[in-house]
Amino acid sequence: MRKAVIIGAGMTPVGEHWRLGLRDLAVEALLKAMDDAGIEKVDSLYVGNMISGPFVEQENLGALIADWAGLGNIPAVKIEAACASGGAALQEGVKAVMSGLEDVVAVVGVEKMTDAWPSDATRYLAYAADAEWELFHGASFVALNALVMRYYMKTYGYTEEDLALFAVNAHANGAKNPYAMFKRPIKVETVLKSPYIADPLKLFDASPVCDGSAAVIITTPEKAKELGVPKEKWVEVAGMGRAVDTISLASREDLLTLKAAKIAAERAYKMAGVEARDIDFFEVHDAFTVMAALSLEALGVAKKGEGAKLAREGQIAIDADYPIQTMGGLKARGHPVGATGMYQTVEAVLQLRGEAPNQVPDAEIGLTQNIGGTGSNITVSIFRRV
């Protein structure tokens, strides 16, 4: 198999883009990534997106975005894996390069969510749950995560304060990210005083509904050299893994184990030839604070039941042993669902190039973990400085 390196990255700020449509956002991120790589043509395009149909009445995103970005008659498709669509699209793009089928591949993640009424947005997001056995009963995504959060707190004796620390960390880092939706540090009290949206889950335990797009260009080291891309810009995609779990929460073997993340991580670690302790920073899927805790456990960073302890012990800050959410995570950077995995990717690239506004000192290896559903579809990718 060939090696794959990312040679260009671009993104739009995350936020409520009232004046920009889905195509504007995607094309902006994509052209920025192509400019960053210094290229004008790609062999194919993969679009990570979750729910453009209900949100903006647009499917066929491959054709739309390739057309408007002026990419010509290339192959282009949308990849959907719920909120893990961005991570999955990245991995499909990398696979195309590694297999030898395509030499220069563009991947863009995009989602435009703020044009919908809030309760409709809540409904569309719940399409990633089980329609007959979850959404039928009025379950929102927040509600499903709240069920996990209450059970986690009860099982291991954590409090709402303990989990709030993940939001505080994310906001502290997001404050330095010019592309983040929330650039304000918060305190534990801010989280605790925010209203319940599905008890015990509060507004500040959850990531926001927002718009955004992020993109990368992938090729082989040989082709990167041929294209004249300076080596300082290369970031190797060293490991990838992906797995699914039961779509409905009630069918899980264990409510508090992200089994799909565990399996995906094992595959990614094996492919990259590294272990959790070798990773310099982790971009985990903190759509809800409890998911950050469970993710750290599934990735082997913390023992089962001890994910929230890492936050309590101050081990997740930029200058600590296990920095997470270095650019604000889903909580503060924002969570434009199908684009999130690609934001994580672009942020990992910036960290490994040493260009991050919130730089992890001497970062050489980074990991991104992208969750679709309530843990039903998960991707893990490992990146390495070349």
């Binding site: 309760s119 039928f136 009963h137 009025g138 379950a139 069920l147 319940y196 599905a198 008890d199 009630a250």
Partner: protein, 134 residues
């Protein structure tokens, strides 16, 4: 409010949604809802079984910002209930004061209205759980 899917989509779930019909494979693994393949052993030899509808709350939440179509009912309690036969089911709790809900609380199944569409639309019924009526 979003329009309902065509009615037939719901008709195929009559038995599961009104009588809590689960599946039991040849090796005795019970699950809910019934599936074509046993999630434990992979057997495809599965018979339909009616579950008792008695169980215990293992986690719950109060849904304050529901998906569209459920605004009328908010806030409402939603729970994961472990049935006495083993499977876990997600359902709304009914006839209960939210303050009374607790881990391990005993509940039983009851058929209730789940959702109503517009004036001329269909009404969806299904299972909810409540504290046992003595």
């Amino acid at each position: 409010m979003a329009r309902p899917m065509q009615v037939s989509r719901y008709w195929r779930h009559f038995r599961e949604k009104y009588r809590l019909m689960g599946g039991k494979c040849e090796n005795g693994h019970v699950h809910f809802p019934k599936r074509p393949v046993c999630p434990v052993c992979g057997s495809r030899n599965i018979e339909e079984v009616e579950l008792s509808g008695k169980g215990k709350v293992i986690s719950w939440t109060i849904v304050r910002n529901p998906p569209s179509g459920f605004e009328y009912y908010k806030p409402f309690p939603l729970a994961l209930i472990e049935l006495e036969e083993g499977p876990v089911v997600l359902a709304q709790l009914t006839d209960v004061d939210p303050e009374e809900i607790d881990f391990g609380m005993e509940v039983e199944v009851v058929t209730k209205k789940i959702r109503e569409f517009e004036e001329d639309g269909i009404i969806l019924y299904g299972y909810k759980f409540r504290p046992p009526v003595k």
